[in-house]
């Protein structure tokens, strides 16, 4: 089963994932018209600023077991087994924020949404673009990410790739296996700048 996997070291903080996510969850499905909708569509992935001003796409991990599911008072949270997607039912949700208190990653937001009854503020979080997956598409954030910080693949495939990278780096003849030297330099400069100003 494919799932969205995050490779934080590759994120450049461009936030295109946020825009694509919001557009994918709009009524019209297109960015151009989404920005004029009421309620205004909002992203389910949140690019947070890290310690060295680097970006990080913070999204729901669809935990198993899910702390939000256990904490939910009215039982509005369930799991779609086929895609391992933890889903919040906007009709049952009572906007109590118990899930916010339980989520270790802080990925849940509360607002009106076209998926919810009109005028009702509900808990909103990543739904693995389950509506897109059912149409044979991949999650919007993955589709738009240019740097490979978000991929949609079997976990075992991604882990094998990582294992190979690390194995290669152990080889005596291994050169710098840097895929993006310019960006690695930028990150190093940001980190150094932050550490220097902290002194």
């Amino acid at each position: 089963m494919r799932e969205v996997i995050v490779h934080p070291e590759r994120c450049v903080g461009c936030m295109q994932c946020m825009i694509a996510c919001a557009a994918a969850h709009s009524k019209t499905g297109e960015l151009f018209t989404a920005i004029a909708e009421t309620p205004l569509p909002k992203p389910r992935v949140h690019v947070g600023v890290g310690r060295f001003e680097e970006g990080f796409p913070n999204r729901c991990r669809h935990c198993h077991p899910a702390p939000c599911m256990a904490a939910c008072l009215p039982g509005a949270i369930c799991r779609d087994q086929k895609t391992n997607t933890v889903l919040i039912d906007p009709d049952t949700c009572i906007n109590c924020a118990s899930c916010a208190m339980a989520c270790p990653y802080g990925v849940i937001r509360y607002h009106e949404d076209n998926s919810a009854p009109a005028g009702k503020v509900v808990a909103i979080k990543c739904d693995n673009c389950i509506h897109r997956q059912r149409q044979g598409k991949i999650p919007a954030c993955v589709e738009v990410c240019k740097v490979g910080a978000l991929t949609f693949e079997e976990m075992s495939t991604a882990m094998k790739r990582k294992t190979d990278e690390i194995s290669r780096s152990m080889s005596a003849e291994a050169g710098a296996a840097e895929k993006s030297p310019g960006f690695a330099l930028l990150k190093t400069i940001k980190k150094a700048r932050t550490e220097l100003s902290a002194r």
Partner: protein, 411 residues
């Protein structure tokens, strides 16, 4: 294996489901003093308010007991546990044998210790049926009194106010939610309530109620009188374990359990409001009678009873409440004692944005927080407390408005 669960609240319910998952063949009996399906107790205040209908309260489907092969014994309260013969006895004197017993009896509301508390139209707000009784009286009530400034009192006052009744909240402490928040947040909350038309009196207590058969007035300890046609007592709860043989089962405020939810009798477990184990923030035995703990403890009890020795790290007090436009989230130790020497408190109030953020550290470990507004990512802090790990980044960054999960990533 014959499992008996006393209590059909959420702890008992989740325990039953867990038992069934790990032991498909064992027999499970659930005894509960409330008839009907397991329901969400915290939501009864929404039912009082009129925000949800009765249908929203059950947390399991109609065929819950049947589908899991559970034998329900409902509308019955257990009066005795015979640990030598491994039997429990209900009020109608029926004995039920067990191999393993779970006590998930929850807690009962504490009386206000005022005279004439048994007059009609004075209610606790603990059960769905109590709220149903309140609703029948509402049309004739113009003034309501709520005794207690804790979570139940708060929610009762809010619900009654939304129903168009004039409500006075009578609080003994200097500010509302004194068990959850500190003085600063408490006063912010009090102002929100008063701006919305709630009458809040602090530092007061009711000494007696007066009326013929129905309550008409309350007399405070300072002699003043308040007219009321309805009163709700929210003076706290205490664990329900009167029926236990105290010489056989160790009981403190709650039933003492170990990290496997086991009592001093190895075949008897306890979970939920009735159980007492180590509080992570306080580092001592404590009862945290809140919904999410009952869920977690019910599952852990079920696993251990079915032979899977999963260990519990300890409980954590926490709460989130939305009142009108103000949100409050708290966890752990929010008001440390001034004698605690290794405690560091960081706090910031922004009156313009109506936000408050308070973090409490014991050396380098986060042990408590209180947030007024901007609560959405509070769970990151809850998880930090629960991890019991030292905070490896600058503590200041936890206070900053841009704090988010990625700040904690150290690679």
């Amino acid at each position: 294996m014959h499992y008996v669960i006393i209590g059909n609240g959420v702890a008992g319910t989740v325990a039953a489901e867990t038992l069934r998952r790990f032991d498909p063949d064992g027999s499970i009996t659930m005894i509960g003093d409330e008839a009907g399906l397991p329901y969400c107790r915290p939501m009864i205040s929404l039912y009082l308010e009129g925000a949800v209908s009765q249908n929203a309260l059950p947390i399991r489907l109609d065929d819950f007991y049947n589908a899991l092969g559970i034998t329900p014994v409902l509308g019955n309260r257990v009066v005795q546990v015979d640990t030598d013969n491994k039997q429990v006895r209900t009020a109608d004197d029926k004995p039920l044998s067990y191999d393993k017993l779970l006590i998930a009896t929850g807690s009962d509301p504490r009386p206000a210790k005022a005279d004439n508390e048994s007059l009609q139209n004075i209610f606790f707000m603990r059960t769905q049926s109590q709220v149903e009784q309140m609703l029948t009286v509402l049309p004739n009530a113009k003034h309501a009194l709520v005794l207690g400034g804790g979570l139940v009192g708060f929610k009762a006052a809010y619900g009654l106010l939304r129903r168009g009744i004039k409500v006075s909240m009578l609080i003994r402490s200097p500010y509302p939610l004194s068990m959850q928040v500190d003085e600063t947040a408490g006063q912010m909350i009090r102002h929100v309530l008063e701006n919305q038309g709630l009458n809040v009196q602090v530092g007061v207590q009711v000494s007696s109620f007066e009326g013929d058969s129905q309550v008409r007035e309350a007399v405070l300890t300072d002699g003043s009188r308040l007219v009321c046609e309805l009163a709700v007592i929210g003076k706290g709860v205490f664990p329900a374990h009167d029926f236990l043989p105290k010489d056989k089962i160790a009981v403190d405020a709650g039933i003492r359990v170990n990290g496997h939810m086991q009592t001093s009798d190895p075949d008897i477990y306890a979970a939920g409001d009735v159980a007492e184990y180590i509080d992570i923030a306080r580092q001592k035995p404590w009862v945290n009678a809140i919904w999410p703990e009952a869920v977690i403890q019910g599952e852990i009890a079920g696993m251990n009873m079915a032979g899977r020795p999963y260990a519990y790290a300890g409980s954590l007090s926490r709460n989130v409440i939305r009142i009108f436009d103000t949100d409050v989230m708290t966890a752990g130790l929010v008001s440390p004692s001034p004698d605690d020497t290794d405690i560091q408190v960081m706090s910031h109030i922004d009156p313009k944005r109506a936000t408050y953020r308070k973090l409490v550290f014991r050396e380098d470990r986060l042990i408590g927080f209180a947030l007024v507004n901007r609560i959405e990512q509070g769970g990151v802090l809850t998880a930090l407390i629960r991890s019991q790990q030292p905070v490896a980044i600058a503590k200041d960054s936890l206070m900053a408005p841009d704090f988010n999960f990625s700040k904690l990533m150290l690679f």
